[in-house]
Structure formats: C-alpha cells, structure tokens
C-alpha cells in the first residue's frame, strides 16, 4: 500500500489520457434482468470481500443453540436430546429472521456513503437495486441455515421428515425471510444511522422471537399471552417449519406462512420503493 503511494507520488501526474476517456458508444439501456444481475453480482462480491459479515450472523445463533439446549433442555423438555428436536427448527427461524435486518443495514450504509445517489441518477429500473441485493441475501440465509442444521445434526437432531422435510422447511424460511427483509429496507431508508436501525430491529425482533413458540410450548402460557403467540408471524413460521422437519406439516400451516409473507411483501415492498424514489 505505502510503497504504491510513494511510487505514485514520484510520477508526475499526466496519465495517458486522450480520447480513450470518452466512451466510444452509448449502449442501449440494460434489461431488467441484466440490471438485477449487476446488483446481485455486487452483493456477491461484498460477501467475498467482507466474509466477516457471514461470521457475525451465524456465531450468535450457534451460541444460542448450544446454550438453550444444554442449559434449559433438561428443565423444559426432560432431556437435552428431546428438547433439541423441538428447539432446532425454532432457533433456525429465529436466526434467519434476525439476520434479515442486515439487508436494511447495507442499504442504510449505501445512503450514508453516497453510492445510493449514484444509483438513483442512473437510467435504470430502480427496484432492481433492492431485488438484486435481496436475492443474494437469500444465499446468505441459506448458508446460515445449513450451518445451523449441520450443527444440529451433530448434536443429535433427527428430523423425521427426512431430507425432503428439511428442504421444504428451508424453502419456507427463505420465502418468509425475503418478505420480512422489506421491513428492514423501508426502515433503512427512514432512520438516520446504522446504530439506530440495529436498535430498532432489536426492539422489534426480541419480543417477536421470544414471545413465540420458538423456545417453549405455548400451552403453558397465560391465555392472554397465548393469543399473541398464536398470531405472531414467527410462531406461524416456526410451527410450519417444525411440521416439515418432523413430517407432520399440514397444508393449513404452509398456507398461513405464505399468507403472512404475501401480506408483508404487499405492504413493505411498495412502501420501500416509494421511500427509495422520494428519499431526499
């Protein structure tokens, strides 16, 4: 680094600038697919250059999984092995829904750093910028899921639904997470700093994940709390994922997850796009 700058300094400016600097042509506008592809490539390159990002999002849930299994397993379900069968699908749901907020954080960073302005002055279909990034986030979510499931298998998790069941659960998680991400992109456009966005997402996700059926069977809860738990989207997803993994899933459970996903997307995707276009 340093030696390059010194070397650079010794050179007396003048680049071989000439007419090469002017573009020889003005290409036609890229297709929507090509635009999404360019933004997706950018997101992939970011994972390549900043792999720590992935590390951060998986370490926390791994600790959670180990802690809950061995600390509370015996007390809650009678044995740690028993509890793991119940807990793993739930923890997986919690992990992936929590890392969806990174989508918002990335967008918030883009705004603060000015690259957002550059994209907005391009003659492109703007939603592509977000869709490209979200598609790559789905890859992030998959990697996090595979790590969690792998660890679970090592610890003694035995899904009765088999491979197909686990895959079905995964697809459901990815659909839900893609939809949930739109909340964070909208908030990423509203709040000023990365810190306040993290704070906000923590405030939302903490109660949502804990006041759900991720950790405990809600039948032991007071009835007023049971009401909330049963309509909590995290519970709805956890129920279906658990069902898939243990081979007991019902069509109704799946449909509810899809309904929640559609509602989230229908509200927050257009809202995000409105904010994106009109951000000042």
């Amino acid at each position: 680094m340093t030696d390059y700058i010194e070397q650079d300094a010794s050179r007396t400016v003048e680049f071989p600038m000439s007419e090469t600097i002017a573009s020889s042509k003005r290409p036609a506008r890229p297709t929507v697919l090509a635009t999404i592809g360019a933004f997706a490539t950018r997101a992939l390159l970011r994972i390549k250059h900043v792999p720590e990002q992935m590390f951060d999002v998986t370490l926390f849930p791994v600790i959670f999984l180990l802690m809950f299994t061995y600390l509370f397993g015996g007390a809650i379900a009678g044995s740690t092995a028993e509890y793991l069968q119940f807990l793993l699908p739930g923890i997986l749901v919690m992990t992936v829904s929590q890392i969806t907020m990174y989508t918002g954080i990335d967008l918030n960073n883009d705004i603060r750093k000015g690259i957002f302005d550059r994209f907005r002055t391009l003659p492109i279909w703007l939603p592509a910028a977000l869709i490209g990034a979200l598609l790559v986030d789905v890859i992030r979510y998959s990697i996090a899921s595979i790590i969690m499931i792998g660890l679970g298998l090592l610890l003694g998790f035995r899904p009765e639904g088999g491979f197909i069941g686990v895959m079905g659960a995964l697809v459901l998680i990815l659909i839900f997470s893609f939809s949930l991400s739109w909340i964070w992109t909208a908030l990423g456009l509203i709040v000023r700093s990365e810190k306040s966005l993290m704070m906000l997402s923590f405030l939302v996700m903490m109660p949502l994940t804990f006041i759900s059926n991720v950790f405990v069977d809600p039948s032991t809860l007071p009835s007023w709390l049971q009401g909330f738990v049963s309509i909590n989207p995290i519970s709805i997803l956890a129920t279906a994922v658990r069902g898939f993994m243990h081979g007991t899933v019902t069509a109704e459970q799946i449909i509810w997850v899809l309904v929640v996903s559609v509602i989230l997307t229908a509200i927050f995707a257009p809202f995000t796009m409105y904010l994106y276009r009109n951000k000042e």
Binding site: M1, Y4, I5, D8, A9, R11, V13, E14, F15, P16, M17, S18, E19, T20, I21, A22, S23, R26, P27, A28, R29, P30, A34, T35, G37, A38, T41, R42, L45, R46, H49, V50, K113, G114, I115, D117, R118, F119, R120, T121, L122, P123, I124, N278, E280
Partner: protein, 333 residues
C-alpha cells in the same frame, strides 16, 4: 409541461436553464430563487461557503431532490417530468466518494458499465480502459477503501464517465485533496470538457473557480449574488485592492475612515487587526492614499496593490470572507 414551457423557452445552446428554483427545509430556505442559464460545453462553477445551497441546487438539477418551486430544463428536458431522459445523459459525482469501498476499482467500474448497458465482456474492457486512463491500473484489483484520497476521487469520477455524459455534476471535486491530486482532478475536468461534456462543479475554493470555471455563480444563503466570468467578477469589484499593514493596530479605524473620506473607497477590515484593505479603481490614487496616511501621522509597515482575488470579490459581495463562514454552517443535504 405547457405551463412551464411558456415560462421557460427551451434552448439548444443551454445545458441548464432554471428559473426560480426553491428548496425549503423546515424554516430555512436552502435554495431561495436560483435562476441559471448555463451554456453547453463549458465548466460552470458554483462558488460559495458551506451551507450556501450549492449542493442542494446540484441535487435538484440531478433529479435527486424535488424543487419546492421553480422550473428547469436540463439538456432540454423538463426537470421533474422527463427525469428518465435527463438521467440517461447526466452523471453525478457526490461530495463523498460514491462507490462501493469494499469492492475493487475494477469491480466498481465493471458494475457501473453493466448498469449502463454494456455486456459483461464490454464492461470489463471499458473498466480497464478507464483505469488505465486514470492511472489506476496498478490499483485495479485492490479494494477502494485502501486507496488514497486522490485515487478515490479519480475512481469516483471514472465511475461517472463510464458512458460519457453530456452533463457532469461534480460536487466539491477537490475538497480534502493534496495539491498534486487536485491538479490531476483539474486535468481530468479540462479533458472532459475537451471531449464535449458540460461540467457543473461546486467549490469553496476561490482559486479552483478561478482556475477551472469559464463562468462562475457566487452563491450565498441560497441566492446567486453574482454571476460572470472570473475577470468580470473581479472587474465588478474594482480594478485593484490596496492592502495596508499598520504599525499600530489602534490606528485602524482612523486609517479606514480617512481612506473612505479622501479616496472615496470601500474599506474592509480583515482578521488581522493591523491591516486595512481598500478597493481602489485608479492606481494613481494609491500614492495619494499612502501620503494621506503619512500626513495624519499613521505609520505603515507595509503595503501592496494588486488585482482583486476571488476571495476579495466574495468579501466585497457578501461583507464577509468565504472561508470565514465555512466552519460556521453545515451544508444542508
């Protein structure tokens, strides 16, 4: 469309025409009635301190902000109604390096080229071509966050000209750069204009506007307070500036009053408590001014007479120096 066309006839010679642009933030009128007529093919400079409204004006013209009032044509297209057409022919380089710092220079430019419609192969070719032209070949595979300030600025401008824009907005292109990097950016700007691009740049540096801009608009508190070529602006202020260094600072007020009465000139007191600056149009009056002071027993240690700098232009237009206010206010985005 019809209504605005009536107010503002389109012109083939102008890159930007604006009438009565206003942007209000809360109670503050960040931009307060700006009219512009910027011919194609030149470097046009917005000169003013931080918070003057330069960035806000540029962001409106670059389709990023909606004006609260006023109409504008950018490259013959109606701002607000034909933003897509405008976007396909302009480019913006913001105040802070607006590229992905985690990506390499090559990756950044390739991405921009793809977004402009190049195929993967052409995008890579165009990116290498630009890296070479901007002296960044060796840094092509390094993450931008490891670049020096000057290199960052260069890659940033390169990203703006992947497809040569007809109009390029440069927001404070050289702030924070060392003199050598600044000269490089100036070279790039001159060359872009040479290849037919109109450049609208903002600057707080009077020297930069003087060196680079064909025409200058001096902006203060959201209004254009003067407009013209650098020499027109200087001429408007007067042909010269007499700077007198006093031996005793307590003589300053007396010296100022004396010059005002006898030479009929405007006098400024700068930060230096022992100096007096006066605008003098006729060099012959300089000798008279000095002897007037001597007659009154005001001792001077030094004096100089010269053409006014843009700094003095700014001073005489606003009553305060450009740099003085720079720290006091923050640019409203």
């Amino acid at each position: 469309m019809l209504e605005s066309a009536k107010q503002l006839p389109r012109s083939d010679f102008l890159a930007i025409e604006a009438k009565g642009l206003v942007k209000i933030y809360g109670k503050q009128r960040a931009v307060d009635g700006v009219d512009l007529a910027i011919p194609k093919g030149m470097v046009y400079g917005f000169l003013g301190p931080n918070g003057a409204g330069k960035t806000t004006t540029i962001r409106m013209l670059a389709t990023l902000l909606k004006p609260d009032a006023g109409v504008a044509h950018v490259l013959g297209h109606d701002l607000g109604k034909e933003n897509d057409e405008i976007r396909s022919r302009i480019s913006l380089t913001g105040q802070y390096a607006s590229i992905d710092e985690d990506l390499t220079g090559m990756e950044n430019l390739t991405m921009m080229a793809k977004l402009m419609g190049y195929s993967r192969r052409e995008a890579k070719m165009r990116a290498s071509e630009l890296l070479k032209a901007f002296g960044l070949e060796e840094a092509a595979k390094r993450q931008v966050k490891k670049y020096s300030g000057g290199m960052r600025r260069r890659i940033d401008i390169a990203a703006s000209i992947v497809v040569t824009p007809d109009l390029l907005f440069l927001d404070e292109p050289t702030s924070g750069l060392d003199p050598r990097s600044r000269n490089q950016v100036w070279d790039i700007v001159r060359m872009l204009v040479g290849s037919g691009t109109t450049v609208l740049l903002t600057t707080q540096y009077l020297e930069e506007a003087d060196q680079l801009a064909d025409r200058i608009a001096v902006i203060n508190k959201g209004k254009i307070i003067a407009e013209g070529t650098s020499s027109e602006l200087k001429a408007a202020v007067g042909s010269g500036t007499l700077n007198i260094q006093l031996v005793r600072p307590e003589d300053r007020v007396r010296a100022g009053n004396l010059l005002q009465q006898k030479i009929l000139t405007t006098v400024h007191h700068s930060g230096d408590s022992a100096s007096v600056t006066a605008q003098i149009n006729d060099p012959a009056l300089v000798a008279e001014a000095i002897s007037e002071l001597a007659r009154e027993g005001i001792a001077i240690s030094d004096f100089s007479f010269g053409r006014p700098s843009l700094d003095e232009v700014f001073l005489s237009l606003t009553g305060h120096s450009a740099e003085g206010e720079a720290d006091a206010e923050e640019e409203t985005l």
